[in-house]
Symmetry: C2
Subunit: 546 residues, 2 copies
């Protein structure tokens, strides 16, 4: 039997384009001689559909798309993910499910049992967990079909009390197929490969795995669909961040008909780079916009965002706005202009001096000679926010936010100022990783100006200001942040690593104290296992750690 | 047996104050002759603790607080809610649980089975559902103790496939006790009373119910703790929005020792008023601030927020900033000043003309004679945002957001302008309800100036602008919004109610198109069954309905 895996980029709620794409690939797979073509989890509606699932009409549209897809399955079978209704009176109204379609008929429905409800996942918000499992018999092959998380309960501290494959294996299947919508993080690829290999070994079955690709607002799917033999060897892996269709031959329990790949370990920073480019691209394509604007300071953060935007959208679609103030250093404008020239994007230079003076004068009465402090720094950052938002409003540009994860973490940024934007491009990338990204982008040629990379980071909101005035060096800061945010270590654990107690406590307090700011920041492209946003839900008015 | 119910205001993660409050009320209950005192769900850590629950140290602090509380239970027993560890290898790491403490010992632990995971609730993110249930025997009385949602699965379309009381009833208990953290909405009180009465009737048992009171950022708990006889008659209900301790005598299955209450139906608008006052109050008290600032336009929305803030914080702690532009009408300043005088709060008048002129001049090159449009309107709104944030930064005031639910819904507001603020006071109150609130506040005396109430609503961002230029009348708008947001009706359903098709589709499109704005707005005090914020999770770059 020939099985095609279709690794595609869906768009949440866009039934027209998702259905067309699925039908097109049914035809392509058929042309390729496939007996069965497999699409990802919730392919029909895109993942994550979130509370769209609570609208009756949305489910009806899923069903109609399912029927439309079925009508094209002539001479080829198909597995495709979609939500289906729970016909029982008790329990949630929906299942996260997949149709098995053959001869234009929906022959059976597989339902997901293990519903991820941690980090960015909310599946138990919508879905009832399945409790009954049945293999699919097709052309003499018995297929154990599972959905994503259903295969992930095999470690030593399992999150769920049951294991769907333990039931399905009793029916003596010949092969496992798993369809997924498993979002990217730079640590996820290794973990995924191990979990899938462990399943192949545990159940002594070959395994075909199909993932989604593409970004849905902040969540990025990297693809990386794979096939394994029953000894758990990975036989093939599809490219990351690309749509792909490939057909495999299943001969008994042997997978054939592929060009054997040697798995090339892609460095994390390259994965992050590609993920962010796709994240920007899909944000624009799927929301129907093409042009971006950003504030370009001459510093490294906005330089990286500008570089990524030029790669994602084309430099002709990127407008960099240079907004010097009286505290801007001489080299800032030049560094920014060098970058603009290297990438070939558009730019404007708009000084914020007039606005800063106007607010000084307006507030003079209320502030009655009180000294310059953070207030006036924020006024500058917010005046820049008004300028870039004015460019956005007047010309239909979408504003890219340039805050990095280190500053988001400690609240080193001005709400309604530099924290503005439609999408946070590097809000899940620590400052130390930003430097890695710069070197990666510059690997063949100096595109990010060297001076931007080597100069000490500064917000340039008062004379001679440097990040290091109020923060430790970024190596130290990022290590402490990673231990606290990604690993959820306590201050005690982190101090035991050799960091100074006062510093550790101060940083953790800064992180928790900035929760109210992060609540109001744009969605952030997720590239780590723990990004700010829907995957990290902290109380705002909470006392613990504050 | 005498049972005291303690309806208290906890603070998420504030173990020191929660523990002290619980111990104080153990003493008060003991002084009142109680054999048992009952505290709410997750009283020890406050509700909702959110991802604090994922920190190992947080759970240890809960355990330590539990031990401390136990050590004070001499001569009185206590039921108190807290998270406990799941000792099994499989499943989530925690249970949502309650200690039963007697003679200073934790005698038993009740675990919650039904975990709400809809709207604002995420309990399955943290907790394993319980599958074993045991009654508590104490002083000859057998108590069926359940936690909040455990009693809510009794309607015709149950959300869960099991019912913990169906197990507990087999052990022939004498009385039911339910501890809750059930957030307020203006529709919730009636529903709650019916559900609890239905339980008393179904299981033919008296029922004592304890709820939390107080606000945790956006979630407001109204209290309303109640006792029922086994025929389902409500015998007593504690006051809303107040801490309360009351002792009841359980004689066999009869509840005595209370002054019988006649339930007075509190009008929705009065409940909303009191909820918002408590919401403001607790935001400030629990975050350690005392002073508020807001922009006061002369319109009804900011007038209501100012009135509520004065009641919550005292007028001496409220700073109203009047920020006229060249488009402000003559009466706006006067209406705002009348309000300031009526409530006695502080005020400043700061014109934004200079800022608007500065930005006009700064953008002149980039905008090369393009006509005045929404861009310049937004510049004005954002200049006001800078002014009130400058007041906030300079003086430590907390900015109150004044956007109402109708405008949040359709995106009629400027991001980083009038959508700024630390907390959205009326973001869950439709414009038509804002008028009701004004009449309620004015019920004894004209406090909100009559002119503010009767004049046509306007953003005053261009000459002669009125809300009705681009929106239907608010009665129509709010009805359509309520059908779509609260009831999740489709456009087809709403059109069938007699509304014009083009209008309905345009409004639904506006609501969905404003998702990116709402993502970046402050937390909103929740008073309806479906507020914007954590209870409504919509895709941003989604196609459906957009």
């Amino acid at each position: 039997m020939k099985i095609a895996l279709a690794q595609l980029n869906y768009h949440v709620g866009n039934f027209e384009s998702n259905t067309k794409k699925i039908i097109d690939h049914i035809k392509l797979a058929k042309a390729d001689g496939a007996d069965l073509v497999v699409f990802a989890e919730l392919a029909v509606c895109g993942y994550p559909p979130r509370d769209f699932l609570e609208f009756e009409e949305f489910i009806t549209l899923c069903e109609e798309a399912g029927e439309e897809i079925a009508s094209h399955c002539e001479g080829i079978a198909c597995i495709v993910g979609l939500p289906v209704r729970n016909e029982q009176a008790a329990g949630k109204d929906l299942f996260n499910a997949a149709y098995f379609i053959a001869d234009k008929q929906i022959r059976s429905i597989a339902r997901k049992a293990l519903l991820p409800n941690y980090d960015v996942f909310d599946e138990y918000r919508y879905f009832e967990p399945a409790s009954q499992f049945e293999c699919i018999d097709y052309k003499g092959t018995r297929i154990a079909l599972t959905i994503c998380e259903d295969l992930w309960n095999i470690n030593n501290n399992p999150l769920y009390v049951s294991n769907p494959m333990d039931e399905l294996i009793k029916q003596r299947p010949d092969v496992m197929i798993n369809i997924a919508a498993s979002p990217f993080s730079y640590q996820h690829d290794d973990e995924r490969r191990i979990v899938l290999a462990d399943n192949a070994k545990k159940y002594n079955l070959p395994l075909l795995y199909v993932n989604q690709v593409g970004a849905q607002t902040e969540l990025i799917f990297d693809g990386g669909s794979m096939v394994f033999d029953k000894e758990g060897n990975m036989l093939d892996e599809m490219p990351y961040f690309k749509e792909y269709l490939r057909t495999y031959t299943l001969a008994g329990q042997r997978i054939e008909g592929y060009s054997p790949v040697e798995h090339v370990l892609v460095p994390d920073i390259a994965q992050i780079h590609d993920a962010l480019v796709m994240g920007i691209q899909d944000y624009f394509v799927k929301s129907g916009f093409s042009k971006a604007v950003l504030g370009l300071s001459g510093g490294i953060d906005s330089a990286i965002v500008c570089a990524l935007a030029c790669r994602a959208l084309g430099p002709e679609n990127v407008m960099a706005v240079l907004m010097p103030s009286k505290y801007s250093s001489d080299h800032s404008i030049q560094d920014a202009l060098d970058l603009v020239e290297n990438f070939g994007c558009k730019h404007e230079i708009i000084s914020i001096a007039e606005a800063a003076d106007a607010f000084d004068s307006m507030m003079a009465g209320a502030f009655k000679g009180l000294p310059f402090n953070l207030t006036e720094e924020n006024i500058q950052a917010r005046s820049r926010g008004i300028v870039v938002m004015a460019m956005s409003n007047k010309f239909g540009y979408i504003l890219l936010n340039t805050s990095n994860k280190s500053e988001c973490a400690v609240g080193y940024g001005t709400l309604y100022g530099d924290m503005c934007g439609a999408i946070g491009v590097i809000g899940d990338v620590y400052k130390t990783q930003i430097y890695e990204l710069a070197h990666y982008i510059n690997k063949d040629k100096e595109l990010i100006p060297e001076n931007t990379i080597v100069k000490p980071p500064s917000a340039e909101l008062r004379p001679g200001q440097k990040d290091s005035d109020s923060l430790p060096d970024y190596d130290t800061l990022d290590t402490i942040l990673y231990q606290f945010i990604e690993l959820k270590k306590t201050s005690k654990d982190i101090i035991a690593m050799g960091y100074e107690e006062g510093l550790v406590r101060r940083i953790i307090k800064m992180v928790n104290g900035a929760e109210f700011k992060r609540y109001q920041t744009p969605p952030i492209l997720r590239v780590s296992p723990k990004a700010f946003g829907s995957g990290r839900r902290m109380p705002i008015v909470g006392k613990y750690l504050a």
